[in-house]
Symmetry: C2
Subunit: 251 residues, 2 copies
């Protein structure tokens, strides 16, 4: 089975990591729209237009399934994408919510959803969680985590003051049980987020989507190896270098 993975930039490599660790695909074609990154500060129309262009690109590769690693695209463009292709298109929001449902049974748990401005504005996580009867949902747009991670900062003074900036008011008010990391960059600072929120459980899009693909799309094969091809709309060598660092012996 051959999967396409689409992201606005490099963040989706955290999803690829989970896919590779679980060896559920024979081949992965990755496309990061690095020439127009980030999507998380842009609006529905722009995000949808860029996503449909990416879909056209993937049509050259005869993929069996398209995985949308980007939360902003999953929030805004999933319906449009599905209307323009016959293969399944799977986003990270539905799988993230499903993963939460497997971990948290108590519908009164305090849930925190974090993501880019676009993702949080879409309220897609909230709606999905509400429909499953979760009652205590808090959402915070934590856009600054993206450039901080891209700067190569994973700990220290800047990250701590940013955690403080976004979460201190909430933390003084209630104890968070579970955090949905609604942006592919956030797994890189997963431990720091959990630690700041007194050990809250984190939901990581990559791990969540693997479980979801097994359950909903019967991706239960385990291949000996997964062939990977990486494309980017600018500086593909830069993306390949980061893939080598983040994915190490997996590629």
């Amino acid at each position: 089975m051959k999967a396409g993975v689409f992201d606005s930039g490099i963040g989706g490599l955290t999803v690829v990591k989970s896919l590779l660790e679980n060896k559920i695909f024979e081949e992965i074609v990755y496309f990061g729209d690095t020439a127009r990154v980030p999507y998380g500060v842009k609006d529905k129309n722009t995000i949808t237009r860029y996503s449909l262009e990416a879909l056209e690109f993937f049509k050259n590769f005869d993929i069996d399934i398209l995985i949308i690693a980007c939360n902003s695209v999953s929030a805004f463009a999933l319906d449009e994408l599905r209307a323009n292709t016959n293969i399944p298109v799977v986003g990270v929001i539905e799988s993230g919510v499903k993963a939460l449902e497997n971990k948290i049974i108590d519908k009164n748990s305090n849930i925190l959803v974090i993501g880019t401005t676009a993702t949080i504005k879409s309220q897609k996580y909230e709606k999905a969680l509400n429909s499953l009867s979760y009652k205590n949902i808090n959402s915070i747009a934590t856009g600054l985590f993206v450039p901080i991670v891209e700067e190569g900062i994973f700990e220290g003074e800047i990250l701590n003051s940013t955690l403080n900036y976004y979460f201190s008011a909430l933390k003084s008010e209630k104890s968070i049980d579970i955090v949905i990391l609604g942006c592919t960059h956030f797994p890189l600072i997963e431990k720091e987020i959990s630690l700041y929120l007194d050990g809250a459980i984190t939901i990581h899009s990559g791990d969540a989507i693997v479980d979801y693909l097994k359950l909903e799309y019967n991706c239960n094969n385990k291949f000996e190896e997964t062939k990977t091809i990486f494309f980017a709309s600018e500086n593909p060598d830069g993306l390949k270098n980061i893939a080598k660092i983040w994915l190490k012996d997996l590629i």
Copy 2:
């Protein structure tokens, strides 16, 4: 005289502010490429391609001069832009360096150039300063200031820790006399940067370009009012709202 002002997003409004305060144009047409912002993390080819597309857009407006408010475009695409139009194209790097020359006579002064990754990588400021025999030039890519300012943060813990992150090593080594703010977002945190660097003089692209336009392009008229039109490649209303806040009674 009718000017076009081009920026990758909203940052160029700090340049428009200086142009309006000095009333040197009858009309200003502003275009911010908000659908593809930021440029400062992208490469020369992409920045040049986007800039030439913007030039085509400005050809609809019969402008007399095109002002490139974006430092990343000024660093990489100025020659290509000039090769594709007959009107003058003025960038913020040449004017920034000229402004510095007017303020600092001592060629041994400690100069700090800050900007996005793209601008600093281009070394355009350094080359221009070297050609004027300045000897002590330090450059630091301070990309995080851009999303911080866009988040609406102009003071406090995050900004302080970021100032510390970028400048503490340099500060402990030498005393900086003058800082070139090589990105249109930085004037919004000009005071904080100067304060952190023990009162270093700051060079602001907007003020610098007004002086440069007067000197080199004879823009010495003072019009009663300047008509402004704002365009953006996505969410033009968002840009207009920010223009109203930043430019207040000037528009």
